[in-house]
Symmetry: D2
Subunit: 351 residues, 4 copies
């Protein structure tokens, strides 16, 4: 039972998004961490830091094992991170001490984050494309209808439905481009070792990084990004841009659906416990809430840039508290928009 | 599996706080909502709006029923709230339409919130008292030890350990007083009906409010607080004040534990996957993260004050996204402080 | 020329509030700082730390001097604070080294802050009273008019104008009480000396604190609040509560003024450069902007609670960047509300 | 006298940045607004909407006039914007009603914003280049020196000064690239007319937009960006990324300058009014404050994305309250970093 609206027993009926939740789920995160450790072992083998055959055996052991989650939880309570406990389990399973050598907890967790962010962007891209398509259809169906243009909450001059919908659609198309620009920056393997300078890898550093990156389908980098969090901020910003633009769409629809305005008809809107006759534009409202939620969280991600020395526990944990939540809010926001647009029966001036 | 660090399969090993989670858990929330509906039925009986005997039977049926959670989730997806579905279930169970009559969803959910906030304050109070006691003990043990007073991150003039600890303890004692001041304002039953003016209750309004409030051990109010959210902001502010002061304590301890400073010795600190020799002050670090997290969230709660007309779905949902999380962060922060202070082996100038 | 909207050459025509600006103006701040230094000298005389007659002469010299502002600016560039330069000037003026002895920069600046916060609260109190009076008059004039109650942006059930206005008025009346509760906590002299423990004052500490407090009409405290910023957070919270409730009022009025709703008529609203026929509810809109502005800033004030060791330059400066701005926004918000309510010609269902 | 630290009589000695202030100053803004109106008149002439010769005469009259600022202030108080008053003045000066025709206030103000943002980016670029150069020099001078690598505030493993400085330098180099990517998106003329669809320009729309854009050295767009604020958010994000990375640098330096750590020597640091012997790392501290300030403000800019209908007064004004301040904080942050790095006398392990 979660207090998190995205995973709450009943609030998830509104806010829940099974696809984005699956991407950020703990078991997916664990799978990525194991994938890193397996790739790391193979890389050590390939680059001559470990015996290649033994490294392959270790990698396969890592890939086929089942992890004791209770032990991870206990370990996190002691170490602040699951990785020391995880590595201990993996060493026992693989029957070797040659696991994780030269890597550090942040390498594992941040690489898993990179993979998760990429998957999130892919999901968002596909949903944005669907929504752009839905909007284009609405433009085709209702675009030439007259509507009152409204500025500063006052009737201004007549526009068409196309004029309004374009302001919803164009930013979303822009985000498709931004996703493409962001992907290579986000999809970068994290390899730094204890203090971020890859010192433990010596001359093998480049080989290891290339090998791990290739195995995980990520890009290489010249340096660990342990304390350089600008790409994480950029991902969070894009999440909030998406939910922000959808919040504008939602706000508009709540205004259009008002009695006395009547510029939109929605099917299947929200019921009221006190007034069965009412139809509340709950999907549109939720878009506004999620936009304001992400606008709030993004401040925390920016605060987390003040990352002292070679690794800041405090700044890093602040990301854990905000970035996944933003991804879920954005996923939810896209999903609700799809439902909301599918429920539009009519847009344009009241008849 | 939750992405929420407070309920995450392994991150909860660090951030988790079973007591505060139980207070905010969905089943506790449901129990409070049922308690409201039962109290409501009895109040209708007591105030002459329903037949008293039937009302009592209805109340007992509500109290002894088991709710279909899947149905609540489905209902929330449709109505944006679980209450219409819940009321439908209750009507079927009680075999009467005389359930929830004159109340509205927000009455139920906000009254449950008031109860939950009170329980949170009680837990925080008892933990604050324990922590104040722990600090007093540390003062007794180490208070007269010399320490360097540091301002603007520079050694300034010698102080004693007492001087430092007092700046941790005094605000916490102040919060104990604030909790007492806040309790009566927070613990107010929400009764407004459809549009917040209790119109459906007619002349029975005062009787109903008094009766429900008494049954739930809450205070009455002259008016619904549907759109007047200042007390919710105040509760959130107190949560953030507590975690903020503990963040100061945590920040100080991370600075005291530095090599070259050595003003504190902690037992059982965090291990590193790359450097087994290290002892990371993970509990102290987490306090800083949680302080900055709540400082971020509190902005969302303030944004939610712009509550349009007789009820804003968007503003209200923004509270659901932020207030419970702040309570969990504060609970976690208090729990971690207790652990952290229990681990202090020595404070004062390095020998 | 300021980029600050509250002091901007033309934007101040909308946002400007001469009274709150005067309270926070640099010259007022300087006057409070000089008042502290004069009171400090007299206190040293009264408590036997300095020769009483010389101390009085020093105090009078401080009170009657003109300060070289350029020198303060240069000094702030070097020291991060104006006080070292100010004290140097005062020593030269008074012809003695016995100035500021035993005090520290933060004592001076925070005491000036306390005075400024009190004056702000007094102004806000008097404006809140006026606004409560204006609202009561509107209730008298239009209170019985019918209006549609609206929840979740949808027409719900009929209410009266009174029902709506009460939700604007009651929180403001509550803030009057909160101001009274907050005044004694805010109005506390700051005396700590170099590292906050008043060590330089020895046995005279209590006498000095009492004497300075009395001279400045402030309360004493047992300890410096250098690093315990909860009362500053509470003041900022109250500022945001006020502007938040006025933001709700503003949001409602923008919605009421819509074509098709027509529940309010305002005189003298905003013109448009493109559409001379339009009347924009600019005062109501600005209330929403200011509410959201303060809701944003308050997060910074909470972040500033993480005040390391005996004084944090970073946390303290973060207050300078946010608290005055919040006070100005709140002052502006109250002033605009007065104008807005004075412009109401009619409230209630469109005829 | 401003309460704004960037323009405050003495606090500007620390926070002030004359160059960025000049870019955002009201007179510069007015100059850009007049440039827009002049370009607009010429465009109307060039595109056949006005008589070309008269349009040129109007443009020249606009360019050579002196504006009555008091009148703009009065006008802003009435209209919420200076443009109606400005246009009235311009019509009188030019002796024609053919001024601003087909444009709207937001076209003028946002185009001025675009120009101002570009100039800010140019200044930031040149300063980033200088800082990157300073860092490269420090790497050359001290890069091979040993230093303790520190993670989670604990000594971890030895690194070199290069390892640390690289984490300061690389993000800044990345921002140089981001500035290049952002410039074309930011530097877009705003032309929409009353309701954003350029309807008043009819078939001449493309011609007018191209002509105004060319005159102002901006890019064209297919549509007004009145309510699509993603590029404003991106500019604000880049501002906060820059100050955030400099905040990390500042935080590191405050930690390096601690007694017992001694990894850096700075010349000319801040004096204390109570302890003349102290040297406070005030520039480094200020970088942290400014980072956290911008991290706070950026939330407001994201909130401003919820821009209802064809123009939201409330959302737009929220930008005025936050975006200029962020630019000033970033400018200040870059300037202070230059001073701070110039004051470095030594980096590396204490001798």
């Amino acid at each position: 039972m979660s207090i998190n609206v995205f995973e709450h027993p009943w609030l998830s009926g509104l806010f829940g998004d099974a696809e984005i939740s699956a991407i950020w789920a703990a078991d997916a995160q664990l799978a990525h961490m194991l994938a890193f450790e397996a790739a790391w072992s193979r890389a050590r083998g390939a680059c001559g830091l470990s015996d290649a055959q033994e490294a392959e055996a270790t990698a396969q052991a890592i890939e086929s094992t089942t992890i004791d989650g209770d032990d991870l939880r206990r370990g996190t309570g002691i170490d602040g991170l699951p990785i020391p406990a995880l590595v201990k389990q993996l060493k026992a399973i693989a029957g070797t001490k040659d696991v994780h050598l030269g890597a550090t907890s942040q390498d594992v967790i941040d690489t898993a984050l990179a993979i998760t962010l990429l998957k999130s962007l892919d999901l968002f891209k596909s949903r944005l494309e669907e929504i752009v398509g839905q909007l284009a259809q609405l433009e085709q169906r209702f675009g030439d209808q007259a509507m009152m243009g409204r500025t500063r909450m006052q009737a201004a001059l007549p526009i068409t439905v196309n004029d309004r919908i374009e302001t919803w659609r164009l930013p979303l198309q822009g985000y498709l481009k931004r996703i493409e620009l962001l992907r290579p920056n986000i999809g970068v393997v994290q390899v730094g070792g204890a203090v971020g300078n890859r010192a433990a890898l010596g001359d093998h550093s480049e080989c290891i990084v290339a090998s791990v990156a290739k195995a995980l389908d990520l890009n290489v980098s010249d340096r660990a990004w342990h304390v350089m969090r600008d790409t994480v901020v950029e991902a969070a910003t894009l999440f909030s841009l998406i939910s922000g633009s959808l919040g504008k769409l939602g706000q508009d629809i709540t205004l259009m659906a008002q009695q006395g305005v009547g510029e939109i008809t929605l099917s299947g809107s929200g019921g009221s416990s006190a007034m069965p006759h009412k139809q509340n534009p709950i999907l549109a409202e939720t878009l506004v809430s999620l936009a304001r939620y992400n606008a709030t969280q993004v401040a925390g991600v920016h605060q987390a840039m003040v990352h002292e020395q070679e690794r800041s526990g405090t700044a890093w944990m602040l990301e854990w508290l905000t970035v996944p939540q933003m991804a879920l809010a954005t996923g939810s926001s896209l999903l609700l928009t799809k439902k909301l647009l599918a429920s539009v029966e009519r847009i344009g001036e009241a008849g």
